[in-house]
Symmetry: C2
């Protein structure tokens, strides 16, 4: 294949994460990423709108898979359980643990990236609520189920990347659901 | 009192919300707000760091009251119930309904303000989780209880400002808790 290198997208993504880890996100340029990946800066911009996009391109794919899984869940499954089952499904399909750990570390070090991550979860929650409304779930139940599901996702994900590497995704999600059930608020609350 | 007008802070806040509603947030300047309030631009900046701050200055006060209420809850109250009770408490103290409706409309019209609002809730969640850890609650239960409480806050608030004006804050919170309990995920989820 001569000088042409296959999988430019994957090599650019890996090079970007390496550089963000080594030098920090702000200190890395698109040109440096392209050079490390062995392609031109123009090739970088063919795959990614900007430096940030390298870290968030997967989010749309993740959202698409979750929404599709919800749509395919049998109608008699409770809405919130459909969301949790969808989240359970994506783990094996989407995430590489080493990549996820590295990405999380880069984001934790940069407030602007953290805000982008918040926005990602907020968009996911709104989309999941929309998918539930399409299943006939009324508001505010749709949004409450979506918020609950996304909380399980966030906390389960956190556990998956910080816990023992042997613990699998489904286990982290299941355990987070168990812990969430223990913090269900009581009905009578106005006693303070 | 001559030309000196009392409550410059309150008049600036009201003038700002009027102008943001009439012209849009982006189209309003600090000078215009000051003029409508009958003070100088310099006075505006004595009270607010910038235009956005007019909409978010209350958030810190809100957070302070919630954290204080959690700290004062008897130790035998379940953590999540302490959070809900604290949220129940703030309603009567902090919010004016007409002001809240107007503020929500302004924020809904501006993506940058929406992001700031997301950040506010994220900060509140982290602070509430911190307050629960101080009560001896371990992770991830502290964060799960905080996420649950802030979800009830958001959805209850939404209901309070969009529902019938006669429905009071405590009623909105109580009803949201009831609906949240109905979307508690089941223990077994991996059947899709």
């Amino acid at each position: 294949m001569g000088r042409w290198l296959p999988d430019a997208h994957g090599r650019l993504a890996r090079a970007a994460l390496e550089l963000y880890s080594e030098r920090g996100f702000e200190q890395t340029t698109a040109l440096e990423i392209a050079e490390r990946a062995g392609v031109t800066e123009r090739t970088f911009f063919r795959y990614f709108a900007d430096k940030r996009e390298v870290l968030f391109q997967g989010s749309q794919e993740l959202q698409r898979i979750i929404l599709e899984a919800i749509a395919q869940t049998p109608a008699d499954v409770r809405p919130v359980d459909a969301v949790i089952a969808a989240i359970d499904t994506v783990g094996g399909l989407v995430f590489d643990r080493a990549h996820s750990v590295r990405r999380a570390t880069i984001i934790a070090a940069n407030p602007a990236l953290q805000e982008r991550e918040l926005l990602k979860f907020s968009t996911l929650t709104a989309s999941v609520a929309g998918a539930l409304r399409e299943r006939g779930v009324a508001e505010p139940s749709a949004t409450l189920a979506a918020e609950t599901g996304v909380t399980v996702f966030k906390i389960g994900f956190e556990r998956w990347i910080t816990g023992t590497p042997s613990e699998d995704w489904a286990e982290c999600i299941r355990d987070t659901v168990r812990q969430l059930r223990d913090v269900t608020p009581s009905l009578i609350v106005s006693q303070v």
